[in-house]
């Protein structure tokens, strides 16, 4: 960020308005600053997903298991109960029926 409404692009050091932030970056900022709202994370890239899952607060939504390709194990929580899942097919099953 170089000012309230401007960012420095990673390409060619040009400054851009904040509406040119990547979808993933906008989602992370929205989740961080609006913990009372739910944001769709389906369009997030790997780096944004890693940050989202590291946040203490915030609410996200996806109708399919949206995890980073590099995650090989997740803690899935539903109604206070949790289970460790290390297989994407099992995670899909859990996501659909939890």
């Amino acid at each position: 960020m170089i000012s309230k409404y401007r960012i420095l692009s990673r390409f060619h050091d040009v400054s851009l308005d904040i509406d040119h932030l990547s979808t993933g970056c906008k989602t992370v900022l929205n989740v961080m600053y609006n913990p009372d709202k739910v944001f769709c994370m389906k369009e997030c890239g790997e780096n944004a997903l890693d940050i989202l899952y590291s946040l203490e607060d915030g609410q996200v939504y996806s109708d399919f298991p949206t995890i980073s390709f590099y995650m090989n194990k997740v803690k899935a929580v539903c109604q206070g109960k949790y289970t460790m899942i290390d297989d994407y097919e099992k995670l899909k099953e859990w996501w659909n029926y939890a």
């Binding site: 390409f11 060619h12 990547s22 979808t23 389906k42 369009e43 790997e46 780096n47 944004a48 399919f64």
Partner: protein, 144 residues
């Protein structure tokens, strides 16, 4: 799913200091990867090219109220570039794309359900900046 590209094996275009230099190995290319790496920038450059090259059709979130499957069925011999595919495509349009033998697809999104996709279809952007020129090319997301 491995299939030979129907419309083009490669595409090159430049706009200001950006260059697109894509090589297509499959008829369905799914572009995934980190946020902020230039996927939507690439879409914008292809959209710009589509003004002159009638083989290119671009769809994104602005088309969300349209009948996407109907639109896809109306195209023939096009490279159809779809950004925001995770929100734009439903199960019906995804299945249509999987079996479409008239058009080629470049899909930007991470939801690969119903495309019958394999790791052969997954790509990320590779970026090289040299002398104030940034070139985007396609790189296999999961190396064999």
């Amino acid at each position: 799913m491995h299939s030979t590209p129907i419309v083009m094996d490669s595409y090159y275009t430049s706009h200001t200091s950006f260059v697109i230099n894509f090589e297509f190995k499959n008829n369905l290319t799914i572009l995934i990867g980190d946020s902020g790496t230039g996927k939507t920038v690439s879409y914008s450059l292809l959209l710009e090219s589509g003004a002159e090259d009638d083989r290119i059709v671009c769809l994104n979130y602005r088309d969300i109220k349209k009948d996407i499957t109907g639109l896809l069925k109306s195209y023939d011999g096009k490279l159809i570039v779809i950004d925001n595919a995770d929100i734009l495509l439903d199960q019906v349009s995804r299945r249509y794309i999987a079996f479409d033998t008239r058009n080629q697809y470049l899909i930007i999104g991470r939801d690969v359900r119903d495309f019958l996709a394999t790791e052969d279809n997954l790509y990320e952007l590779q970026t090289v900046t040299q002398n104030e020129r940034t070139e985007f090319s396609l790189k296999r997301y999961l190396e064999p």
